[in-house]
Amino acid sequence: MSDQDLFAYPRGRLHAADKDLAASLQAMVQKEVMDKRLELKEDYDGLLAPSLARLMAEVGLQKMFWPEKLGGEEHNEPEAAYTVAAALEQIGRADVGLAFLAAHSLALQAAVAAKGSCREELCAAVAPLFCEGNRPLIVSFVLPAMSQDGGAPEWRGKGIQVRAKSGPEGWTLSGKAVRPTCSGADAGLFGVLCAVDGEEPAFILVPGDSHGISREKEFLKTGLAASRNADLDFEGVKVPAANCAWRGEEGFLNLLSWFYLGLAAAGSGALLAVYEIIKEWGDNRVIKGRGQVFKENPLTAALMGEIAKEIAVDRLLAYNLADILSDPQAYGDDGPLAVFTSALMLVHHIYVSAEYTIHRTMELMASAGYAREWQLERYWRDLKTVQCYLGAYELAKHDFARRFYHTKTL
């Protein structure tokens, strides 16, 4: 039994191919990313870009859901939620930033090309960007956010950053100082939730090289080195009518639910890495004067036990979200809003817990906890940055209140 398997997950629900893919990814990221960390640290061009290219184009994560006739792998049954969880957990274990980028691509694919809800016209328009050639396509979202624009139309308490108008030649998008979720400097495709005057919002796919998109200077962040983010301006960006993935809330909620699954799995993977780090520490660190290794001391053992408990629970929660998405009917089939709310609750729970867990681990490891050589602090920075893009927890609590207390004014 591997150390990872000590933490229960529904391995019986995973197909053999899912397990093989996870094993292959585990070996790949160990060799390509984890073994090179001290050598390359956060070198985007030397470490992260080649790894991202291999994951997305060579292993083919960016082709997973698309129909075979369009060059994809057509792995698009609802059970693919388990594939997403198993794959992103392994990638997140090596680098949360890489998993964060892959989560965007997989969520979009699932929302557009999943069996049963596959949008054929849209697939035909977009799949070639993902499937043709061997270049990685970085996907980014422009989601409602805490807005400085007081007049911005709201979606669930947050401001929609981009406005769109429909015309005979398609859609025209406008927005100033728009902040995408990731890779504003590099993304090849943006999924943008747009406000439409007097109508329901539209979720529109915008190729990154569209005329009218300008990218601001890449900004400095404390984490997620794999994402080179920058603010964007959309000035009269025109896209064909077929690029509108869906109108209204339902499809968007489905997209977010799959996105949250990816983030949950990335968080679970990061925690597995944290376990490996604290285990090595506990096995080898000798308490001065007593000749006793850390894990044999009752006090430190209790703290290590608590860390393991948090990791175990978070992993179960991440796979539980995969289970919900693979078979929503089994959970009552209350519609996309119910699934979205569950996904939002689970992913926030995992990230709050992960932050607490890594914090405790850093404290336990004293100066090694924040030393770059031990890698631990990197996970804290990465997960904290993902939390920022996940959105304010206080606003998420309002989403929970809407669902459970049927609030009228939030």
């Binding site: 053999a16 191919a17 093989d20 893919l21 094993a23 292959s24 990814l25 790949m28 291999r54 060579e58 292993v59 083919g60 082709k63 997973m64 792998e73 792995h75 594939t83």
Partner: protein, 266 residues
Amino acid sequence: MAELNILVCVKQVPDPEGPPSAFEVDSAARKVTPKGIPPVLSPFDENALEAAIRVKEAAGGSITMLSVGNNLSKAVMLKALASGADRLVTVEDPSCDQEGLDAFATASLLAAAVRKAGPFDLILTGRQAADTNAGQVGLGLAQLLSIPAVSVAGKVEVNGGTARVETVLPDGYEVVEASLPLLVTVSHEVGDLRYPSLMAIKKAKTLPMETFKPADLGMEPGSLVINEITELTAPNRERRCRLVEGESPEDAGAKLAALLKEDKII
């Protein structure tokens, strides 16, 4: 020329990246037992498979993987198949335990399997196995099949009935052209084996796989030359500390460099 038939000979070994402490040397039983180390494809054999995939991409054809051993891991073989091979042939039997077979016996079994499952135009092997590092099986196989061999290749190309091989030398490389059929031993300069996609992983299970016993190949287990290990001991590591002193730091550095050169460390 008809479709190019490429054969890649692969060996399953304990992961050479495993820590030395995970290998238990049992002097009494004269065995080295890896503890908790997963089996993998020998890394140079992975390079050979990558070379074969590149040849196939450029010149077409099909790739057969061939392995001899006992208790071969299905997962290891499927992963390699998924990377780009088309067919798997194994020779499996307790008498084929890698620890017992010597290089000639392994080459003999491979040669018999090649005659049964072939013919092949191009045979690729790793330059040496990661467990024994002997580097004898590939060239032995060429001798037994009476075909030419080129060793330690960094690049392999096929054009019609001719192969162009860049062989790795200590100070550069040499280009060799040879007609097919040909055996080439491949070095790591070729590049790492690619990672399989999900679709390839799914497809690998449906690819043709055949397993032979030595008897199916006309070889009786008793006829195989078996290694006899007469003595096995763990290396006795001695640690000695020597202080290098000098009149100045530069002088001490020069003396240290001279000592390191003397011990052939630099």
